[in-house]
């Protein structure tokens, strides 16, 4: 019963802050609402027994990535969008997206089976062992990816010498 309550709280927070992300005029407020949305998604990860990923979500996403975002938003200093900035095609796009979303939700709502309870539950030890045995090549590849992306970002954002 308490799970249902937490699910209601987290999902409401999630949807409200996602709507606030796309409806705010100031990018700083958009970034702050995205932090709330990401933290509530981390709470939903906890409800799904993904403890390690919930921690990673809070530390990496809500901490590191969003701090980077806020930093750039404040450096760029764009200010508020004018109220007339809503493009003309937003209405038809909204209708089409609502149709697609309604269709997909109608299609999957009867097709998803419930959770089978079994003795083998996913735990942190098993996750780490998989990560460093079966998935050791993707793990090493992703370290190379992140190093090269950081070097690339430094190169792109460097000061031009005149």
């Amino acid at each position: 019963m308490i799970e249902v309550g937490f699910f209601a709280i987290f999902s409401t927070f999630c949807i409200i802050s996602a709507l606030s992300l796309i409806l705010q005029r100031n990018p700083v407020y958009s970034a702050l609402s995205l932090i709330v949305a990401i933290a509530s998604i981390g709470g939903l990860f906890l409800l799904l027994h993904a403890t390690f990923l919930a921690v990673l979500q809070i530390i990496t996403y809500a901490g590191a990535i969003m701090a980077l975002f806020l930093f750039v938003v404040m450096m760029v200093d764009v200010g508020d969008e004018p109220p007339s900035a809503i493009p003309f095609h937003a209405g038809p796009v909204l209708v089409i997206l609502l149709l697609i979303a309604g269709g997909v939700i109608w299609a999957i709502s009867s097709a998803v089976p419930g959770i089978r309870e079994s003795a083998a539950s996913i735990d942190f030890r098993e996750l780490s062992r998989q990560l460093f045995t079966t998935y050791v090549f993707p793990f090493e590849a992703i370290t190379v990816l992140i190093i090269s992306s950081v070097i690339g970002a430094l190169y792109v954002a460097r000061k031009e010498e005149s």
């Binding site: 796309i22 027994h49 980077l68 937003a90 997206l97 999957i108 998803v112 419930g114 992140i146 970002a153």
Partner: protein, 100 residues
């Protein structure tokens, strides 16, 4: 025990909010944030399926997605800074040089 279909529906709703935000907003930074929101909603669907099927691989994929998103954010924000330095704006309506 919550039925997993509610998690899937929530992830779909968040994904479509992100897609609509890309069409609605004119600011490059906010469009980038909408992409992050869509990545997060897909992560939620992955973890729901991992819980549903008692399979570890969904959680491993989410781990890799989070790391790739960090790399993507670093490169993307550097590009946005470069655009702002060259053009003094991040409104996509004013970035029309490619169109001629």
């Amino acid at each position: 025990m919550i039925h997993p279909v509610y998690f899937i529906i929530l992830s779909l709703i968040l994904f479509f909010i992100g897609v609509f935000g890309i069409f609605l907003r004119r600011n490059l930074l906010v469009i980038f944030m909408c992409i992050e929101l869509m990545l997060n909603s897909v992560n939620l669907a992955f973890i729901t399926f991992a819980r549903m099927l008692h399979d570890l691989e969904g959680q491993l994929v989410v781990f890799f997605v989070i790391v790739v998103a960090a790399a993507e954010a670093a490169v993307g924000l550097a590009i946005i800074l470069l655009v702002y330095r060259n053009r003094k704006t991040v409104e996509i309506d004013r970035l029309t040089t490619l169109k001629g």
